[in-house]
Symmetry: C2
Subunit: 306 residues, 2 copies
């Protein structure tokens, strides 16, 4: 029985590239594996796949009765809806430990690094499997994306060394230029429906019983949002109501200025004051130096809900 | 700030030896670590520690505000009572994924092998740290204990290879003889208070909201229990009442005959029928071939509660 290797809902480049890279590795060591996805590739991911000649993995929603290897999270809210009826055989991740549980032993490769693909590289090294050129390319791009070309506070020396090694395998001389090209693709918001922008990199978290949705858009210049900010605000308010959420937060991250404007709709008017020591004014708050949802946005928020 | 490396409540040899071995490794790679324990070493563990010249790790109950590295489980019921107020920096384990969660990224080295010390050996290899002779000895004994000298269905080729490598480092020629010596120590039940026997290797599980306690005594001949079986049965009934448990099960495992007699007190008279297809008669049921609580006892029970 093959295992399906699948990342989180609303997949980012780490989830998609990680699924492809890990499925290849598993097949090389004699464990049949199929890369899968829970949603459409983002424009950034589509750019990466095309650049290195890959098709998107299999779109698959249901996993009851299947073996599943989870990539890039360990949260029920980010897993397939029927994950409780599947057998989780492994997890590769770089986030906090979430609420997925299993009834049988499994493997977990979880490390506090900047990207799941950095951990997958460690798995290739452990099994002594050679990484094909094009797979090295997509793994490298996933790490450049997750670490915001090494600017994110989540970036570790392991991530940097990993990108350097993968760039050499992939034959990419100027990987930072490729990273910037990628972020330019990511910054093109014009012509995209507002809901698509909000959902592009959106994750729901269970915070002490409260459902909190947090989206993030990383761009090279926040001015791209000037024309659509009011629409974004209206849309996250609608999303909060639709999903019965306590709060919906949207991070507009400027990777060059290295900070984020957070758009906030919440049942708790003091939420950002308590979590980040900065009050929300007219539904907006600027968080200087904040690039990472995982490291800088989620943990203080969880404390605020505790 | 040092991290405390600590195994589960009612520690077995894997928890104690693993804490010592992992704390040593962490200190070698520049991360200050202190081995700790949540309870008294069993006679088997005391034998191992004495054989290789170790003191028992620090007894420490409270961890609020501390950094903790969890060994040999990922379950709230088996962790320090105040674990929610501590920061879990890592987990090394070989069981199903439990209900521990964190609010920050961590490392998890979890593999479906027979013993946490087999995973800790992988960590030594990853960091390229030499294992001292005496630490190799206690790691080897922990693996021989958890895998019942390779007889348990939880034993993998990784465990066997690991024992062989550790035996060579420790300079032990006949490791199976040492294993049998260890199980003879484990089999000496005479003169031990009945409650101590029941609790010697006892774990509580949350099964779909029901608290289920499962103890196990592994011996080389079940006849050692002839004189005390009635007392054991009275004591697990008392334990069930005291702890508000749905069921208390005690496995009397014969490692030579390779099977277990299960003593059962439960709110559900059909529990073993539903879980194992064998009815309990007069509070007892023989489970042929059953050596492993983790692999053969817990998963079917969880299914029965699902």
């Amino acid at each position: 029985m093959p295992m399906y290797v699948v990342g989180h809902k609303i997949p980012d480049s780490d989830s998609i590239c990680g699924a492809i890279a890990l499925a290849y590795l598993k097949n090389q060591i004699g464990e049949e594996a199929i890369a899968a996805r829970l949603g459409e590739p983002s424009p950034e991911t589509a750019f990466i796949l095309e650049r290195f000649g890959f098709e998107a993995p299999l779109y698959k929603e249901h996993y009851a009765g299947e073996q599943v290897y989870i990539v890039d999270h360990s949260e029920l809210t980010q897993a397939p809806d029927d994950i409780a009826e599947a057998t989780i055989v492994g997890i590769v991740d770089h986030h906090k430990l979430g609420d997925l549980t299993t009834s049988t032993p499994l493997e977990c490769w979880i490390r506090p690094v900047g990207c799941s693909n950095t951990v997958i590289k460690m798995m290739y090294d452990f099994y002594n499997v050679e990484i094909p050129k094009n797979i090295a390319g997509i793994m490298m791009c996933a790490i450049l994306s997750d670490t915001v070309i090494f600017k994110s506070p989540t970036c570790t020396t392991a991530d940097i060394k990993c990108v350097e090694a993968l760039a050499e395998i992939a034959g990419i001389e100027d990987y930072k230029a490729l990273g910037m090209e990628m972020f330019k693709v990511k910054s093109a918001v014009e012509g995209t429906p507002v809901r698509d922008l909000v959902m592009r990199d959106f994750k729901d978290f269970n915070m002490n019983g409260n459902l909190v949705g947090i989206g993030q858009l990383e761009v090279i210049d926040l001015s791209v949002f000037d024309q659509v900010k009011a629409e974004l605000e209206a849309d996250i308010a609608a999303l909060k109501a639709e999903g019965n959420r306590h709060s919906v937060l949207l991070l507009l991250t400027d990777i060059m200025k290295e900070g984020s404007e957070m758009l906030v709709v919440s049942d708790d008017a003091d939420l950002t004051e308590r979590a980040y020591g900065k009050a929300t004014e007219n539904g907006r708050v600027w968080l200087d130096g904040v690039l990472s949802r995982k490291k800088q946005v989620v943990p203080p928020l969880q404390e605020a809900f505790a």
